[in-house]
Point group: C2
Chain length 424, copies 2
């Protein structure tokens, strides 16, 4: 409710930069037409972005007799962003330029015995260092680091409140990372990382209302509503994986029963396979990736069992996606993350067919269901976008004070979820 | 995405008036503090509302040495609004002043054999006439009529696309009504009427994110997100009654199975009762109201069967409400409409207990579950609010032309969903 004029201005700044990244070079007039903002507002925002070095003037366009219109484009070299994807089995970091092209990538395994918070923070720090060094990026050019960690995240305080896989409770991850990393840090989870990746660069761009369905080990739905990510009152919206699909159904690690995740997350799909054929060679016990890959190959080869598993999974997934269509009436539903990428078009086809039978006609007619078009790791891309959004929302704020104490997020001097460590 | 500066200004106008209605008299300074808008913006918007005669200046407040601050209040007599609730069994109209106090009320039965669109339009017209005449309201003071009709509504075109109870398909109800009613008309459904009633006058006021659960014959969830009603891309968001709670469960009239509505709508509750005790005297076959009232009396008297039916219903409702908590992470969930009103606190208590066991901790801690505090028919109140919103969004537009042809909604001269008939 209390959306301040600063919030509104930040949202407009996002919209204008998003549009420029989508269609560079472009004129202020085109930007006004594309965003619905006034030309005066666009001119002010473009001026700010030019001042930050994020944009560059690239000449003029003829306008049939009128005054020539100035063209602007993203200055890809105007800054760098780092996105970190902390997953159950690996840590991946990617370094991006301001056009969000990947400049460098580094990855480290997460060893099962080394998942204490300080160990994970150390692994992240090594991976970030590994990605910066070879790219030869001067420290000053890195605008920030976005970090995605699975679980429930308090982004304002930079705390991982709960991560089921490692039994983390209230881990102050951003404080731990600030001991190693001197760039501004931003924490959130994969659900929202995938949502902002689609919103800025993928199938949700230019859409008012979209749902990004995250199909991995865990399952969730990143909600883009009214042109922005819907976070909910305590940044935990999107826990669609823990909505009930089968009352009193399969037991879920959240303590509930019949949750969507227990049927369409990677372990749920493995169970769908095991129920059909306990001894199938497609099943790699304890190895989700190998099993999902084997299913994908089986489907490609026309294996009836693999086809049946995908059809069964789509029956669950289609019913749950229909719920999103009926409840939220979005323009597009995007299937994202590694399970969706692996099972691809065959899964999409089956899901579309099930939704066609389940959803109400009116919202169904308004909704597209697509695979994510983001060509790289959407979690790294989305995490880097958190850093970009952080840099944009900090425009006009006083710079964070330097000193021994990191400023608390939420104070007027630092944007929410940002932590800046003193220079080393 | 394409939220124009006009849309933003209209939203701000809603916010300011909402705040003034909540706390009259008030100063521009207090309004700026309460809404997060700048003092300059508030002053402009207050000026507009004064010019429309919706507000009145009511003196000054001392401000400890500073300049005295002007106070404004709603001018209750500055206009009248009519809300119409077309239900399965009745048509009710209420006339409100600008403080949204009820000035007059009229009701007519909907006879089973008389549910053709032209018959219903005629019944609505009679009811509206009945409410205006005795109140002695000059035509010019009626700012508009909001009409709620159950089903899927295309509000831009004023068409009832689908109403299950009467088997209506693509009925141009607003055009039919414009043949009888000369005030500006606005059409939507009970789901959204209850949501705007809570947003303007009830438990969702001042909340960024709220869900208004509508428990009647049909079931739905009006979504208030980011301080406004979330309508979805084709105005059909909120069809929570048709999300799956029990895969392959009870058959629903939508053609699906296991929909929430089949367990917690009034007919679903009757089935919950019948499954426990087919011959119970609490059961009034064919009469939903009598059965729900009998259950409410049974619960009050400690009847074990009635208590068990409410507990069973709460088990379904609580699981489905938990899904809303987990997916949307709202500040408040409001139980509204006649079934919620009839079963009241005992139902609320059971639902809270079930949600406490089902929902994830983080969103659960942030969410209140309450009964609607709106003391009158929330559908009439919400429908009248559509008319108020319509009047506010028309500010600064050219007045609709008069003549024989009603202007099409969607043309620049008329706000979406508005139809103005020529003067009789």
């Amino acid at each position: 409710m209390k959306r301040t004029s600063r919030d509104i201005r930040t949202a407009h700044r996002y919209e204008v930069l998003r549009q420029i990244i989508a269609a560079s070079p472009t004129s202020r007039q085109e930007l006004a037409a594309a965003t619905g903002l006034s030309l005066a507002t666009v001119a002010t925002l473009v001026g700010e972005l030019l001042g930050l070095g994020m944009l560059t003037e690239v000449g003029f366009e003829d306008s049939a007799g009128g005054r020539p219109r100035g063209l602007v484009a993203v200055d890809a070299a105007g800054g760098a962003l780092i996105g970190v994807d902390i997953a159950e089995t690996y840590v991946r970091a990617e370094l991006f330029d301001l056009s969000l092209a990947v400049l460098a990538r580094a990855e480290a395994d997460m060893r099962p015995g080394e998942t204490r918070p300080d160990q994970v923070a150390g692994r992240v720090a090594e991976t970030v260092a590994a990605v910066v060094a070879p790219a030869g990026v001067a420290d000053a050019r890195v605008l920030g680091v976005g970090v995605s960690v699975p679980g429930q995240v308090d982004r304002e305080r930079g705390v991982c409140q709960y991560a089921a896989n490692w039994d983390w409770h209230d881990v102050p991850l951003l404080d731990l990372l600030a001991g190693h990393i001197t760039y501004p840090l931003h924490l959130d989870n994969p659900l929202r990382a995938c949502a902002v990746a689609e919103l800025w660069f993928g199938a949700a761009r230019g859409r008012g209302d979209a749902v990004v369905v995250n199909l991995g080990t865990g399952v969730g739905a990143g909600l883009v509503l009214g042109g922005g990510v819907h976070r909910g009152v305590s940044n935990s919206a999107g826990e669609w994986g823990h909505t009930t699909l089968v009352l009193d159904g399969r037991l879920c690690h959240c303590g509930g029963r019949g949750c969507v995740e227990t049927y369409v997350g990677a372990p749920g799909i493995m169970l769908n396979l095991r129920e059909l054929s306990p001894g199938s060679p497609l099943l790699h016990p304890g190895d989700q990736t190998a099993t999902i890959d084997a299913l994908a190959r089986g489907v490609a080869a026309g294996d009836p069992l693999a086809l049946k598993v995908v059809a069964d999974t789509a029956r669950y997934l289609g019913a749950a996606v229909s719920d999103l269509v009926n409840l939220l009436n979005p323009e597009v539903i995007v299937l994202s993350s590694w399970v969706a990428a692996a099972l691809g078009e065959p899964l999409l086809r089956e899901v579309r067919a099930v939704v066609g039978r389940h959803a109400l006609k009116r919202p169904l007619a308004a909704t597209e269901i697509v695979l994510s078009p983001v060509p790289t790791d959407p979690v790294c891309l989305g995490a880097a976008t958190f850093a970009l959004e952080g840099a944009l929302s900090a425009v006009g704020r006083r710079p964070a004070p330097t000193g021994t104490a990191a400023p608390r997020a939420g104070t007027p001097s630092a944007p929410a979820g940002t932590r800046t460590a003193p220079p080393a």
